[in-house]
Amino acid sequence: MSTSNTTIYINAAQNVESQSEDVYVKDIGSLACSDEHVLAKVKAIKLHHFNEGEPKRQVISLLKVIQEIERICPGASVESIGEPDVLLEYIDVNKHKGPVQMIKLIFVAMISFFGTAFTIMAFHNDIGINDVFSKVYEMVMGQPGDGYGILELAYSVGLAAGIIVFFNHIGGRRITKDPTPIEVEMRIYEEDVNKALIATADREGKTIDVQ
């Protein structure tokens, strides 16, 4: 079977999380080829093995992948339409189940709860919100208020409602199908971190690359 004149397209992802120690070409992105035998052969090429004690992160240059493919399927041409470097991460999923996860969640929820309660109290003290609200109350009602009434209650409810509506989380469910602003921020941050890791690995010479 001749493998010349076939073109293999590879769309590599920027970041790949692998749950097993072996990483094959099929794990780093999607592949397309008109010849199914070639496609199957390429997908099964092993790129990297995570040994015990080695760092759980590795950057591999797509050039190396192309070199491997051409070694196995001589004459085939490879087109890359994705990322030029792939960050491989070995994730042990089992480490993230169970009671430890629940404890971490409770820890963070308590920080968020007490922290923001304290912050909003300090913020109110700082801005002298009581003066503003009593003045508004007096202006509107014509009589002086007694420190806490409908205005303060409505304001407090508004605080919570605003966060829940515009930051789109009620418990774990969502209100619309858009990614929430926090999720967008997290993805952007993740991309920045990946780019930084890839650049660092390149500078330190730790990328798996052609010689």
């Binding site: 007096e138 509107v140 009602m141 014509g142 409505a154 409810v157 605003g162 926090i182 921020e185």
Partner: protein, 165 residues
């Protein structure tokens, strides 16, 4: 004498310019109004929203400086605009409704502003990544919202403002 008045006038106008620049810069750099408009899909009417921001600021600014001109409650009660007996009851109701609206929307704005500034500083993604937080982000945000609610209520009912700076 006149020269001092003119000087005061210049100082006033300059301070007003700088203060308004400061206030609007925070709003713009945080991108708060665009987020509100985008989430509710009313981005086409962005000019209306801009006008609202300007009028709201002018309204609040005017009545906080010239509060004597804003004493509508006294005016209504004093002149018994709805008839001698009914004015109190009607105005109590109308006033309560207005305060309710004012409070809810002011609260929504402040809550979102606080969280949007935190988001601009990337606190939540950095925090989540450091402690290896994979699920349950929604619970944390819910905790933040409830925390603000409880903190604010406690602040007003326990009159913490009496002990403040």
């Amino acid at each position: 004498m006149l020269i001092r008045q003119i000087l005061l006038g210049i100082i006033g106008v300059s301070s007003g310019l700088i203060v308004s620049a400061g206030v609007f810069t925070v709003l713009i750099s945080v991108g708060l109004i665009p987020r509100f408009a985008g989430k509710m899909h009313v981005a086409r009417k962005i000019f209306v929203l801009e006008e609202m921001v300007v009028f709201g600021t002018l309204f609040g600014g005017f009545f906080s400086v010239f509060s004597d001109w804003g004493k509508i409650g006294e005016f209504v009660r004093g002149h018994a605009l709805f008839g001698q007996g009914a004015t109190d009851g009607v105005w109590n109701l109308a006033g309560t409704v207005f305060l309710l609206i004012f409070g809810v929307f002011a609260g929504i704005f402040v809550g979102c502003l606080a969280l949007a500034i935190a988001e601009m500083l990337n606190t939540i993604p950095v925090f989540a990544r450091r402690i290896g937080f994979r699920h349950g982000l929604g619970i944390a945000i819910l905790a933040v919202a409830i925390g603000k609610l409880v903190g604010s209520l406690l602040y007003f009912t326990q009159q913490v403002y009496l002990y403040g700076g």
